[in-house]
Symmetry: C2
DNA sequence: GTGCTAAATGATAATGATTATCAATATCAT
DNA sequence: ATGATATTGATAATCATTATCATTTAGCAC
């Protein structure tokens, strides 16, 4: 596993914060690193728990505040799962779908395809709805959990 | 709009309760009628609020308990939405997808299709995951909200 | 229908998650 | 380095959900 992507992502987020008038603080960096470095969608509580292993632990309120800010900047988003709602995950460019391992929670992002687009057009014709967006999430088992 | 489907659904649920050793009480009937009669996915709080308009209002705890029971019997399920998670909706036979109006919250159920199945097979090949299930939810505007 | 017994109810307390408050601290432009 | 101000963390307040328990009710036996 290459660590560079995590560092790049955090630096990109920091730049985004500065451009939007937010200060880049130690607390925010810590939250961003934990989110960017995770292979599963985390809850605020999990982010807090993970911070306990580090030099300085975070305040619960700061975790919520930072998550809220990152969400407003569209740098992260909430992913819904059958059990715990509200897992936090970095936003990806373009429209993507989530693939989640039922056993270990690992999450992958997979691109959409034509079949889905056709299906949506078909639904629009049948129902009279104008479809503006969609969620597709796949649940299963990753290679190491099979 | 024909009212019969709601009545039928509630009777079917009552039968299901009896067969599973649960008593059919006034409280449970009230909760079931509210859920079955709604065109939007409700939260426990909304079910409670709606009961205030009736002869006898429900206890909040009973709403939670009844919802939990209906979920265990697989008669209802939780539908996740971008804002409020955990809307409650009757379970439908077979695998279906949800179509939700962003404006009024009205929900429809639409059948799946081949395109989705093909897409999933393709993802399995690309990622090595074994896909066991999926969620597809479409968001847009119903005819009357356009 | 009457009475019995266990299940179910509703009021309320307890817990857990999220948000608001505020004095102390840290960031960043100067 | 200094100062103005955004941010932090501790804590209190709020809201959602779950547990407790005395009272009530459904369903069964008669």
């Amino acid at each position: 596993m290459n660590m560079t992507p995590v560092k790049d992502l955090v630096e990109c987020w920091e730049e985004n914060l500065r451009q939007n008038g937010y200060r880049v603080t130690r607390t925010r960096r810590q939250v961003m690193e934990i989110i960017a470095g995770s292979s599963t969608a985390l809850t605020p509580r999990e982010i807090y728990q993970l911070s306990l292993d580090q030099d300085r632990s975070l305040g619960m309120a700061s975790v919520y505040r930072t998550v809220e800010m990152l969400e407003e900047l569209d740098l992260i988003q909430q992913v819904h799962q059958p059990d715990g709602c509200h897992g936090i995950w970095p936003t990806v460019e373009g429209h993507k779908h989530y693939l989640i391992c039922n056993a270990c929670g690992r999450m992958e992002v997979v691109p959409g395809n034509e079949g889905i687009t056709e299906y949506i057009t078909q639904v629009e014709g049948q129902t009279g709805y104008g479809v503006e967006g969609h969620w597709l999430q796949l649940f299963g088992r990753c290679q190491s959990c099979q």
